[in-house]
């Protein structure tokens, strides 16, 4: 049964056509992946479907009845639920309160029927496979669990069509497994799902059909099992991408740029020791909460260490403030680029010059011309696409923001570069550029610590992979030894939990 039919959808913003004659269908009990680079028109299509704004032309049929949505509320009523990348829950309230926010059951006069709400909440939580007390505070749940609450909320609103926008971006591999199990179970019950993700492996594993959108046009729709990933990528970017992970040309030199011994922050990071050579990429894998970002913060002097030593180029280095780390040649591209990486109110140029302002300051005055030149060079080197260097960073796309966040560290090439989730929420084209940049930097002798939850990325880009679990370093693999299975097992601990997760997933399939 066809749940949703969209045809001839057109949309323009200020004379720029964003969607052209888009056709899209969704069957009941289907997971339909919608793929495309950033700016391809995915978000616009989703907004039209969820009542964000109307299409200029075209028809939307739900259960063969034509619908037009004047508001998100109308779309919700017609059975469309959206799970956004950023979760929309109130952390201070309980699961139950969040589920029924704005439509609490009551006896009238504002007297809430807690018992009824609790029972109903139980029912929906069971449907999404979340085994939690409905009166738990949402803030205490993991991101994965919060996502399940969102899905439960959508289902409780009688959603037949779920739109999932990058649902796995912030999840650990284990949580991804359990989310997939839930999605498959829902598929079995006839829910139709539109699944948006930049992670192609996931799409291949989970979806029934793939539709590729490029420049506002539908390129093709194929059953997933009939199409190869390489071909999907090619359709998305409209050209051949040589390889997903470009071959490294750098030769690492047997000189330790960074050496760390027994680094400890009690209860968070326990006695981590490693070294990275010049031109080497050390991948750091682990589940969320394994202490990877915390390790980076320790290395950079953001948080205080309780024990341990750090050597940079063989010299002991102690950082008590990020500034000292920066001075000695450390660079840190943070996981949360909007929250910690960029000053969104400032221009591209100002962001690029924030770290190494000394490079073009004489007698305490910034030489604007030098600054401009430097920014121009960097933005060319990194392929930053902005209307001008004076454009505020807030208006750039995710990929371009990330390039700026990396670029500011390259005015004076660092000795050690820490990259925390450098390609999260970044489209394939920009990912490629970031990978190539990493290779260039390696070739210049920069030591790179790559923290990533994207396993293929860690495996594809690293010379060695270190795995952390619960603040401890549990394994280090060479590139040859490192397989997805091994890394995951080390990260999850003994494979017990993980095996169970995979089994459940296989079973559902």
């Amino acid at each position: 049964m066809t749940l949703l039919q969209m045809s001839g959808i057109e949309k323009s913003f200020a004379h720029v056509q964003v969607l052209k004659q888009v056709r899209f269908t969704l069957e009941a009990g289907e997971i339909h992946a919608l793929l495309g680079e950033n700016g391809a028109g995915k978000s616009t299509l989703i907004k039209i479907l969820s009542g964000g704004f109307p299409a200029d032309q075209g028809k939307i049929l739900i259960d063969d009845k034509e619908v037009t949505f004047q508001s998100p509320r109308a779309a919700m009523k017609a059975g469309i639920g959206v799970i956004h990348q950023e979760l929309h829950l109130v952390p201070q309230l309980s699961i139950c309160e969040n589920l029924f926010l704005g439509r609490e059951h009551s006896f009238g006069f504002g007297w809430i029927r807690w018992r009824k709400m609790k029972e109903e909440a139980r029912h929906w939580l069971k449907k999404v496979g979340l085994n939690k007390d409905p009166f738990c505070k949402v803030g205490g749940l993991s991101v994965g669990q919060q996502q399940l609450v969102e899905i439960a909320k959508a289902l409780s609103l009688q959603a037949k069509i779920l739109i999932l926008d990058e649902p796995t971006a912030a999840l650990t591999p284990l949580e991804v497994r359990s989310l997939f199990a839930t999605l498959r179970a829902l598929r079995g019950k006839g829910v139709g799902m539109i699944y948006i993700s930049h992670r192609l492996e996931e799409v291949q594993e989970l979806s029934d059909r793939i539709t590729v959108l490029r420049n506002g046009e539908i390129i093709a729709t194929h059953p997933t099992h009939e199409i190869a990933l390489d071909h999907v990528v090619q359709m998305m970017v409209g050209r051949d991408l040589a390889e997903r992970f470009p071959q490294k040309t750098a030769v690492k030199t047997p000189v330790d740029r960074l050496r760390v011994k027994g680094l400890t922050q009690t209860g968070v990071v326990e006695g981590v020791s490693f070294h990275i050579q010049a031109g080497e990429v050390l991948g750091l894998a682990g589940l969320i909460g394994a202490g990877r970002t915390e390790l980076a913060n320790l290395l950079f002097g953001v948080s205080k260490r309780d024990a341990g030593e750090i050597w940079l180029d063989g010299k002991p280095a102690t950082f008590r403030h990020p500034r000292e780390a920066v001075r000695l040649g450390m660079a840190y591209v943070t996981e949360d680029r909007k929250g910690k990486g960029l000053v969104l109110t400032q221009s591209v140029k100002e962001n690029l010059s924030l770290v190494a302002m000394n490079a073009f300051t004489t007698m305490g005055v910034i030489t604007k011309k030098l600054e401009e030149e430097q920014a121009t060079t960097l933005s060319k080197q990194l392929g930053i696409r902005a209307t001008s260097l004076d454009q505020p960073a807030a208006f750039l796309s995710g990929g371009n923001q990330q390039k700026v966040a990396i670029g500011k560290w390259l005015v004076q090439p660092p000795k050690v570069l820490i990259l925390d989730e450098p390609t999260r929420g970044v489209d394939i084209g920009a990912k490629q550029e970031i990978y190539q940049l990493m290779n260039q930097l390696s070739a210049q002798g920069v030591a790179i610590l790559l923290i990533s939850s994207d396993l293929p990325e860690v495996l594809g880009m690293s010379d060695r992979v270190m795995v952390m679990r619960k603040g401890k370093q549990v394994a280090t693999f060479t590139q040859k030894e490192a397989t997805e299975q091994r890394v995951l097992e080390a990260a999850a601990g003994g494979g017990g939990l993980l095996a169970e997760g995979i089994e459940r997933a296989e079973h559902a399939r």
């Binding site: 500034r323 929250g339 960029l342 969104l344 400032q346 140029k349 924030l354 770290v355 910034i366």
Partner: protein, 316 residues
């Protein structure tokens, strides 16, 4: 394409820049039509002299607001610095030394605010609300509530004198305006203030000494307030222990009218000068039109609301 909006300043969008200026221009034209005295040279210098005190306070306030903070204690710093300076002049200290020491005390009071805010991590609103009372109290204790006369001619020239027909306070205001404008646009410290206000965490992780920059901003704000207090004392030939109370609100109003965001990270000092001028012209115009001071308050409040409303609708 969208190039025409791209005025050379990166911190404030074109419309936000034009808004305050257009508002000021509109008021000047209106008042020039209604009142013949308005555009006379005497009256214009009069306006400038009247706004110089508020402008100085607002300049310092701009720095603090750009970092995402606020300073409610400027009126009290103004009074304490004015009283101390008057007292030192009265004791026979050379005026220049007394002025310098007065500014130093202002800077000290500002840095105390900054220390509590940056190192103690207490909300700026709370800290400066407390010091508003504290510094005012110290002033009252020191003077026992009585005004201090200060009529040393070498001192009062600071507030009453002229240089080439231009009132000395106006010269102070203009010089500091250009200095601050340069500081914000062309020095790392200025950039760091914007970065800190835009995203403190990102600034910290980029190696900016955020604590130091923040303390510096409050210190400068205190220094500006004390200079305003000293000039005011010189102009009145006496230091009133209650002077400057409520001035912090006019200063904040000037900053906001000028288009600087209370959220921090966005704004410009030229806007603040225009904001102070808007308030000054409004006061002066209403005086010329013989509007009672009670109504003046009402009109001023309404103008501020209107300006902020226009600003919001431009942004969305």
């Amino acid at each position: 394409m969208r190039r025409e909006l791209n005025v050379r300043n990166m911190h404030v969008s074109g419309l936000q820049k034009l808004g305050p200026m257009a508002g000021l221009l509109l008021m000047v034209i209106l008042l020039a039509i209604i009142s013949q005295d308005f555009l006379s040279i005497t009256n214009i210098f009069n306006i400038f002299r009247q706004i110089s005190i508020n402008a100085l306070l607002a300049f310092g306030m701009t720095l603090v607001i750009l970092t995402g903070g606020i300073d409610l204690s400027v009126g009290s710093i103004l009074a304490l610095a004015g009283v101390l300076t008057a007292s030192m002049v009265g004791m026979g200290l050379p005026p220049w030394l007394a002025i310098l020491l007065g500014i130093c005390t202002g800077a000290l009071m500002g840095s105390i605010n900054g220390l509590f805010i940056a190192i103690g991590r207490v909300a700026p609103f709370i800290v400066t609300l407390a010091t508003l009372s504290l510094y005012r109290g110290l002033t009252l204790v020191y003077t026992d509530g009585r005004p201090l006369l200060s009529d040393n001619p070498d001192f009062v020239i600071l507030g009453q004198g002229y240089l080439f027909e231009v009132p000395v306070p106006v010269i102070w205001m203009l010089v500091l305006f250009f200095l601050l404008s340069f500081l914000l646009k062309n020095t790392p410290f200025g950039r760091h203030i914007y970065a800190l206000g835009g995203n403190e965490e990102a600034a910290l992780l980029s190696g900016v000494r955020t604590t130091r920059v923040k303390i510096m901003a409050y210190t400068l704000c205190g220094a500006f307030a004390s200079l305003a207090g000293i000039i005011l004392t010189a102009r009145l030939s006496s230091a009133q222990p209650t002077m400057g109370s409520g001035y912090e609100l006019s200063a904040i109003a000037a900053v906001v009218l000028g288009g600087t965001s209370l959220a921090g990270g966005k704004g410009w000092i030229t806007g603040t000068l225009i904001g102070a001028m808007i308030i000054g012209v409004l006061d002066n115009g209403l005086n010329l039109l013989n509007v009672s001071t009670f109504y003046q308050q009402v009109v001023k409040g309404a103008v501020i609301l209107l300006a902020v409303l226009v600003d919001r609708s431009e942004k969305s």
